[in-house]
Symmetry: C2
Subunit: 152 residues, 2 copies
Amino acid sequence: MTFKKHLLFVTAILAVSAFTPPAMADGDGEIKYRKSVMSSIGGHMGSMAAILKGASANGANFAVHTQGMAELSKIAGSIFPEGSDFGETEALPAIWEKPADFAGAVKMFQGAAANLNTAAMSGDMAASGAAFGELGKACKNCHENFREKKKQ
Amino acid sequence: MTFKKHLLFVTAILAVSAFTPPAMADGDGEIKYRKSVMSSIGGHMGSMAAILKGASANGANFAVHTQGMAELSKIAGSIFPEGSDFGETEALPAIWEKPADFAGAVKMFQGAAANLNTAAMSGDMAASGAAFGELGKACKNCHENFREKKKQ
């Protein structure tokens, strides 16, 4: 994780070097982009979990995470472009083979993220906890159907 | 990375179990929260780098990342509470020993993130690239002075 973060940082610095020719967008590049977006999504999920279970006292930050998650959910459908199905990815072919099913799973994620943000903005932490549970189900639905099973 | 993400997800699900007593906020919990926030920050950094160097064609998503980063920068100062300086953390004692210096580094991050978001909202990708470089410097400044050096 740590080394990966360091790599991300180095990549970021390299990206703005005036002498680096622009890379061509391709499957590998899109997979890297997707993994970065997923890092942000996962980070918000972990942040909200830490607050909801009381492991962090930073409840004042909760809406930053629900808002961030809602915004990220809106671009979730765009991070699986054609051609990003090969290489270092756990994305399953079902994403591209069953586009209607996948679109439904993304919509479920977007709805759950929007509902959680609404609950958080109202300041109702009980409703937020329930909405967070629904968001967790949406994550699980997509990961179970469209992501490679984890190896032990 | 993958296993860590899986853990985050499991943690998230556990967090909403009705039978899980709330954890007490403590140093370990705050460190976990901080790492999750940093994952979101790093994810946005990687996403923006992929777009700026042309590795991803998802330029339409750029402002989602600059906005997300600007919002996350605002809470950066809150993720290092007293008592979160021991345990599984790379945060250096200087954060708590030199609070004015650390506050300055956080402010530099916040200013750079806000400037980048302003540039992105104006649609000027050249200005965005330059502002992204400044943001990278702000990251580097904080990591060099307030985070343990990486081991090879």
